[in-house]
Symmetry: C2
Subunit: 366 residues, 2 copies
């Protein structure tokens, strides 16, 4: 991958730099935490391990890309360390989102390790502590997630960004947090309502994934860099389209993905009962063309656990033609997302970077 002009920081280096900034932040809070009481340090260590073993750092990466896209033209006076801290702070929001989601989804593992609530549950049980181990695990995980959320705010506010940059960042920051929590609320309501609405499934993709993962991080970085409205609109539109395409790809993989490549059981979304656009489209088609298949899919999603049954439901979904419709949508969104980058103010090398990130997000097999 080619180098970014600014500061010789290559996009590929961002994950490593983010790790270093997060480590620095966590180290700086350690004494304060320990002064509250030894057990608090133990609890916060779960958060520390979670954050430092974190994934692909995709949100900080988009913050950086947004900043560099704006920065090249405006000669931002912000300190690079401050911008990187602002970018890294999104990993704490993500930590809260995942730690709390893992409670909500009753997940046992995350990134190959026990989820926080399960790890604490095990600690409780192994030490014969008072009360119910499962409940204690969830309690500590709820609070560890809360701590992550307030530390995200602290890492941004104390980053060293100028007051002007912090002010410019407000729209993106405010929108992003309400959207991801709102999107997650919508997601669990749709599941509980066994919703078949394409529109609401689209809204989950838009707010829980696209806005939170790509659109708002780009918006945040570009705002910090002092971007004008035209550039912000272009980057947000790209983020909206590519973000939704990214989630649609995820939905296809959740039903048809190869478990040896995805690392998840085949048809995981069918077992979980996720109310995806794919499922809503499949039910719509089947109602018209094959009511018996529609009835079988309806009765099975969120209820079947037998792998061969799950494969059968996946085949019924495929036979409705919904898979092609979603593939078509991904193609369209990728094209429209990339078209938004065709404005003069986006430097050619940034456009190339964003293009390759988009391809990576929408064509992946895992």
């Amino acid at each position: 991958m080619s180098k970014f002009e600014a500061h010789n920081l290559d996009l590929d280096q961002i994950p490593q730099v983010v790790h270093a900034r997060l480590t620095r932040f966590l180290d700086a809070r350690a004494d304060e935490v320990a002064s509250i009481g030894g057990p608090v340090s133990d609890a916060v260590d779960y958060l520390r391990n979670f954050v430092l073993n974190g994934g692909k750092r995709i949100r900080p990466l988009y913050v950086w890309a947004g900043f560099v896209a704006a920065h090249d033209r405006n000669n931002s006076l912000e300190s690079i360390e401050a911008v990187l801290d602002a970018a890294a702070s999104l990993e704490f929001i993500q930590a809260c989102a995942l730690i709390h989601d893992d409670i909500i989804d009753s997940s046992d593992t995350r990134r190959g390790f026990p989820t926080v609530h399960r790890a604490v549950e095990t600690f409780h049980a192994e030490n014969n502590m008072e009360g119910d181990s499962g409940h204690f695990g969830e309690a500590v995980a709820i609070l560890a997630g809360d701590m992550a959320l307030v530390w995200a705010e602290d890492m941004l506010q104390d980053s060293g960004l100028s007051a002007e940059a912090l002010h410019r960042a407000r729209d993106a920051w405010r929108g992003m947090r309400t959207e991801v929590i709102g999107g997650q609320l919508l997601d669990i309501y749709l599941e509980a309502q066994a919703s078949e609405s394409v529109e609401l499934a689209n809204a989950v993709n838009r707010f829980k994934t696209a806005a939170y993962t790509i659109e708002r991080p780009l918006h945040l970085g570009a705002s910090i860099g002092g971007a004008d409205d035209e550039l912000i609109d272009a980057l947000r539109s790209y983020g909206h389209d590519i973000g939704i395409a990214f989630q649609l790809r995820d939905d296809l993989l959740g039903v048809f993905g190869d478990p040896t490549i995805t690392g998840k059981p085949a048809g995981d979304d069918i077992r979980e009962g996720k109310r995806t656009v794919l499922l809503a489209l499949a039910l719509k088609s089947a109602d018209d063309d094959n009511p018996e298949a529609a009835a079988t899919i309806r009765a099975s999603v969120g209820k079947v656990t037998d792998p061969s049954e799950i494969v059968r439901i996946a085949e019924l979904i495929r036979a409705t033609g919904a898979e092609e419709k979603v593939e078509q949508k991904i193609t369209e969104l990728t094209a429209s997302g990339l078209a938004h980058l065709e404005i003069d103010s986006i430097p050619q090398d940034i456009r190339e970077q964003l293009r390759s990130l988009a391809i990576r997000a929408t064509e992946r097999r895992m």
Copy 2:
């Protein structure tokens, strides 16, 4: 109660003003929430009702007192609406703390109404929704608490305070949030460990109650008002002492309180197994003087449910002399707390207000 000099806003009016500011904030977010999806508005309504039916507004009240204490001397240029929004924002932190605590404590009611997770559970069950009603209730309550936490940040950051005031507010704001979450983590660890440490029980009182409820709100308001270090130190020291005394009073009421006055079952803390300073002192004394009583208390706290048994354990605790020790501590802390106010820079009327708040907090019977 006498009027504050500044802006003719009496302390007694603060709860009403806070209610109006919170209503205004919630109204302003309603469209954004609805645009994510109808069910999100339903979920956020639980938060809205919780916040607007909220209690005594003690934290905003202390923010205001801190601001006025500083303001009278410095002629702050901050807008009064902005200061009131900053004060009111603490009610969202409190909403998160209580909604999440109610999950952690498995509480069914709060302020005479069903807790958020129970209300959502009932809604789920009555509408025959998919999945487990109890689990859904907790999931929505976790996310509603998260929303409250990010909205606290938004209400402060978008209050209209000057960049300088926001910057001055950082120490108090950063400290307060980490301390209350850390204090709550410590509390649940001590319960799970059946801790008998007086020191750690003191730390819970200090961070979960004193810092969060009095010390940091005063610090926040004074910082916004541009207070100097001497005034901030005096107010924080008052808040530290009065806040701990307040919690010690709460601990006494939790074991010896009259249920017809407190509104809670007699000896609630004994049944819950709270690891209070009172309990730690009682066990310490009993170990020396009455090992049999010590063994009975140890075996019963957090385990007995029978009311007559609970009364018997309360009497055993009283017989250790721990009650007098705690009363003595309350008297000392109230005196030392009030003594911190004896500096010239605190206006006489503010000193009187803070004195009457302190008496109300430490001499109450409910």
